[in-house]
Amino acid sequence: MSAAIQLDKVSKSFGQKKVLQDVSLSIEKGKAYALLGRSGTGKSVTLKLICGLIKVDSGAVNVDGKDITKLESGELSETRKHMGFLFQSAALFDSISVGENVAFPLRRHTKKTDAEVRDQAGKILERVGLGKEYDSMPADLSGGMRKRAGLARALAMEPAILLIDEPSAGLDPITAQEIDQLLIDIKTKQQTTLVVVTHNIPSAKRIADRLAVLHDGRLLAEGTAEELEQSEHEMVRTFMTSQQGG
């Protein structure tokens, strides 16, 4: 199976701080990939590099065979139309309603009528359990609800690639499991490639086909959950087992 996303010796620094150093990884189409690691090890930066929101210092980021570090802004926009991004903070547009947040990409990138857009946005909101919140403002939602609304917006264009930063952070265990199941459904039914950044190991195991552990800006280990549990790196084994019940 071909790679949907490929990072080739990617390095990124912010000032003197080296966030990523020579990171290479390959993510197959239609598979789910979890990025694990302690806070500040470059997981969220990796997601932003894949989406082209941050420029690499060196290396290549191939998305569907195109090196996005070399794309013009118009081409990059076209590539992004096939991607969805759930931000850690959800990043909902706070000046418009939850429903209009979900409708936003549909209004801009499709020729659907207003009624069709509202209908589709409503259905997506129902899918994440926010069917009654179309007209609510983001500020009126709880953290977990905002996260789900952010996921609904990321799903609006039925993306081929979904980048998700901490899907279960701030959610109660039941809602977190529902979101996990939703992501699994999206992967299996729509053949969407998922890249999930998480600290929740049980959640990562449920969703992901393969996992990678980043440490100090380097890719420490990569493989299935079972392989990582048997890793030669003690830090990886500790990481994989310390949150078994989390």
């Binding site: 989406c51 929101l53 926009s77 992004r80 969805g84 909902l92 547009f93 936003f104 801009r108 990138h109």
Partner: protein, 264 residues
């Protein structure tokens, strides 16, 4: 002594870097302005936010400025028995300089702070990244629209300020001397020529550009959470006001060169 010179050098480096960044940002504004599509809905929204919502502030301030100018003009001109010149003096003062400059400073306070805080807030809460991830050119959608609306609205708000000022002057004058409405307005506008009115009004388009570009630059590049947003908002007002006042000197000189009669 050594540490003083190194801190001066470091400050100068930062200032040069900042101005370099602003110039690149302005270059991007121009480039993006000529790229489709036109963000018509966002422009309309900003006309309401930036233009329409500034109107009450401009009108009230104009009335007050006009009244104060009228009182000052009276106290000076009546020494020479030239009270009948009050409307003319007031109209000249307002139209040629006070109206455009005060409008610019008021807009830089209200709109500059607003743009700096809004874009800064969007930056630190990743909303600008979210726009980009949804295949929207954030520079065009957020910045070009706001700068364009500042450029369009400034002359209109200046006209509003001028008229409000002249009305404010009339209320102040008629209260003291009972000067008639017809006499006041006929005298106020009789001395004004095209070159007295149009160039100072149109120069406010440059003010609008400075306010929009400076505050957008500071907001768009804000960092550091709520503190960073506050800093972007405050600096937007301070820097756009300073740029506006300094640029005004150059613009007045250019107007005098193009229309020498306005300087006489």
């Amino acid at each position: 002594m050594g540490s003083l010179s190194s801190s001066v050098m470091s400050g100068a480096e930062k200032a040069i870097e900042w101005f370099g960044g602003l110039n690149l940002f302005i270059g991007r504004i121009f480039r993006e302005s000529f790229r489709g599509p036109l963000e018509f809905t966002e422009i309309l929204k900003q006309v309401f936010e930036i233009g329409w919502r500034s109107a009450p502030l401009i009108t009230l301030s104009g009335l007050a400025v006009g009244a104060v100018l009228s009182m000052h003009s009276r106290s000076t001109l009546e020494r020479f028995g030239a009270e009948s010149m009050i409307p003319t003096a007031l109209a000249f003062a307002l139209v040629k300089e006070t109206g455009p400059l005060v409008t610019g400073l008021l807009v830089s306070g209200r709109v500059g702070a607003g743009i700096g805080a809004e874009l800064g807030g969007m930056r630190v809460t990743e909303q600008i990244d979210a726009l980009e991830s949804l295949a929207v050119n954030s520079m065009k959608y957020l910045v070009v629209t706001r700068v364009a609306v500042c450029v369009i609205c400034m002359p209109l708000l200046t006209v509003l300020m001028n008229f409000a000022g002249i009305f404010g002057g009339f209320f102040a004058e008629t209260t003291v001397s009972g000067m008639s409405f017809n006499f006041y307005f006929r005298t106020a506008f009789s001395g004004l020529a095209f070159s007295d009115y149009i160039p100072p009004t149109l120069k406010t388009m440059v003010f609008g550009f400075l306010i929009g570009a400076t505050s957008s630059y500071l907001g768009y590049n804000a960092s550091g959470g709520a503190e960073g947003v506050g800093r972007a908002s405050t600096q937007s007002v301070v820097l756009s006001s300073i740029f506006l006042i300094l640029c005004n000197v150059i613009l007045v000189k250019i107007i005098f060169l193009i229309y020498p009669e306005t300087g006489s």
